[in-house]
């Protein structure tokens, strides 16, 4: 667990951030220049704050009269550029900081065939897996990841993401995951801290922050949208649809996704939800969920953020002001949320 309260001035930019990161994956999300990297470097000790405190599992790393050097902080750090040592083999890179759980980590990250290679002979995705393994073998108290996938193309991203999901689900160390890509955050994070111009503007469990209508202007209309977690219940061979069960109800998605019983997390962008006043009689969309409106938030633009309760789960929709007026919606109304099955992008489906 990390408790953090730091201030740092860098030219015109001021970082003034406070948050607690519990076990699990805490994503720090923000636009470029919002101070994400400054924040994570302060945790690693690569940058000294002007004031504040940083504590890791109750141990003060930075505070009045205390500034533990990076080497003694026991943090693992995966950089955007992998920073593998070019003069060492993959195996030597991996054990540079220790060989804690060597066999298990090599197995978990699929590194066995790479051990004798040189970093220059690796693809971008392989480099990041090695960097991840190297950080893990130093047995860190917290794993810091600074945009680890940002330098990779989408195919390489899709190659590395499942390893990070596995790490999260198999009792890895707590992670601080810096990113400006909502699809990564939605798939990996358990907690979300939204940073804007050096300040924390939202923080809390991922589902709560993402489903909160006030988050929409902070995340941007394209990135806003709730994440729901459910399980695979079946696969229809004839229709080639996977059936999923969520607190919000049943959802079908095209294609074969996971095994029966497997946990699935699904991000539903707010702009992909259509609201209907009554249950549609014939409609091509596969997924129609009865929901209750919990909040309406008008922004400065033409859109309105609509908070929805679907069973135990919460969703977020974005509709136009004109639709709001014509449908005469208000908080507490029972409506139907329509999700087009093919609108869900593969990158928004995770474990």
């Amino acid at each position: 667990m990390i408790k953090l309260d730091v201030q740092k001035r860098l030219g015109d930019f001021t970082l003034d951030a406070q948050f607690d990161a519990p076990a699990g994956v805490t994503a720090i999300f923000g636009r470029s220049g919002s101070g994400k990297t400054t924040l994570i470097n302060a945790i690693a000790g690569l940058l000294t704050p002007d004031a504040g405190t940083i504590a890791l599992n109750g141990r003060t790393l930075f505070g009045v009269g205390t500034n533990v050097p990076t080497a003694k902080r026991n943090v693992g750090y995966v950089f955007q550029d992998a920073w593998l040592f070019p003069h060492m083999t993959v195996g030597k890179n991996l054990t540079y900081g220790g060989n804690h759980d060597f066999d298990r980590i090599v197995d978990l990250l699929g590194l066995a065939s790479l051990l004798t290679r040189r970093p220059t002979a690796l693809s971008g995705g392989e480099k990041q897996r090695v960097a991840l393994g190297r950080a893990l073998m130093s047995k860190p108290d917290v794993l810091l990841l600074d945009e680890p996938l940002a330098a990779l193309d989408s195919a390489r991203k899709a190659e590395v993401l499942p390893y990070l999901e596995r790490l999260r689900d198999t009792g890895g160390p707590p992670m601080i995951y810096v990113s400006h890509a909502m699809s990564e955050v939605a798939r990996l994070a358990t907690h979300l801290v939204v940073l804007d111009a050096g300040r924390v503007v939202q923080s809390g469990p991922l589902g709560d922050v993402l489903a909160h209508p006030a988050s929409m202007p902070l995340l941007g209309v394209r990135d806003a949208g709730a994440v729901i977690i459910g399980a695979v219940t079946g696969y229809d061979t004839d229709d080639q649809l996977t059936h999923l069960s969520f607190d919000a109800g049943h959802i079908s998605l095209p294609g074969h996704i996971g095994q029966i019983g497997q946990s699935i997390r699904l991000r539903i962008p707010a702009q992909d939800i259509i609201l209907a006043g009554a249950a549609p009689v014939t409609i091509s969309a596969r997924n129609v969920l009865p929901v209750t409106i919990t909040a309406l938030e008008q922004g400065r633009g033409p859109g309105v953020a609509v908070g929805l309760q679907a069973g135990q789960a919460r969703l977020l929709a974005r509709i136009t002001k004109a639709s709001l007026r014509e449908m005469n919606l208000s908080v507490g109304d029972q409506v139907f949320a329509i999700i087009k099955a093919t609108a869900v992008a593969p990158e928004n489906v995770g474990r």
Partner: protein, 221 residues
């Protein structure tokens, strides 16, 4: 004996390079990472022998390291060491003249090491000393080899500062360049001149080829 100045030159240049190397590595590292006014002053001081007339450097060495010089007197009184007009003085002059070249090349090597690699090593628990030994130094090694060879070659060819500081006493301080110069002053010594010139070229070529080979070995490791 034609080989006497050759062996003396090799001895002087080798000792000069070996003694100057640790200091050159340290100064190169300091200069690579600093931008303050003191770094500019240090940078200028290190490069002085490169731009001063060598005879001026030789004269300054006499003033400072001569028997009556500020440092020279102390060295003689405390340790009985004399540099002026000795082969050790030739090594000092050669080392000082080669030093700026060594620093320049090694400094480029340090500047080419990305600080991200050192930061990564620190996050893996490595102390500053271990980061330097296991990450920085191996990556700078080719530049150190190249800088050493350049410094060695410069030391082999040093003439002005050497002849001013230690003169050209046959068998004691007469290096290859001094020997060539002396032979040129005497009619009928053309054969010795040609031999020494050929040896000079062979040594220079050998040093360059050797450094290429060494650098490749270092990188491949």
């Amino acid at each position: 004996m034609i080989w006497t100045p050759v062996f003396l030159s090799l001895q002087v240049s080798l000792i000069a390079t070996i003694c100057a190397l640790p200091l050159a590595i340290w100064v190169a590292r300091v200069l690579a990472h600093g931008t303050s006014r003191w770094h500019s002053v240090l940078n200028g001081f290190v490069h002085l022998p490169l731009v001063l007339p060598p005879v001026v450097t030789g004269y300054l060495l006499l003033v400072v390291f001569g028997r009556q010089g500020t440092v020279g007197a102390v060295l003689y009184d405390l340790f009985g060491v004399t540099l002026a007009f000795r082969w050790t003085g030739a090594a000092l002059a050669a080392g000082i003249m080669g030093f700026p070249l060594m620093v320049r090349v090694i400094r480029l090597g340090f500047e080419a090491v990305d600080p991200g690699l050192e930061a990564a090593a620190q996050t893996l628990g490595a102390s500053r000393a271990r980061v330097f030994r296991t990450v920085t130094l191996p990556l700078v090694a080719p530049a150190i080899v190249a800088g050493s060879v350049l410094g060695f070659a410069k030391a082999l060819g040093e003439f002005g500062a050497t002849i001013t500081f230690v003169a050209a006493i046959p068998g004691q301080t007469e290096t290859i360049p001094s020997a060539i110069y002396a032979a040129l002053q005497v009619p009928g010594q053309e054969g010795a001149v040609v031999t020494l010139v050929c040896i000079s070229i062979a040594l220079a070529m050998g040093a360059l080829i050797g450094s290429e080979w060494l650098a490749r070995r270092v990188v491949a490791r």
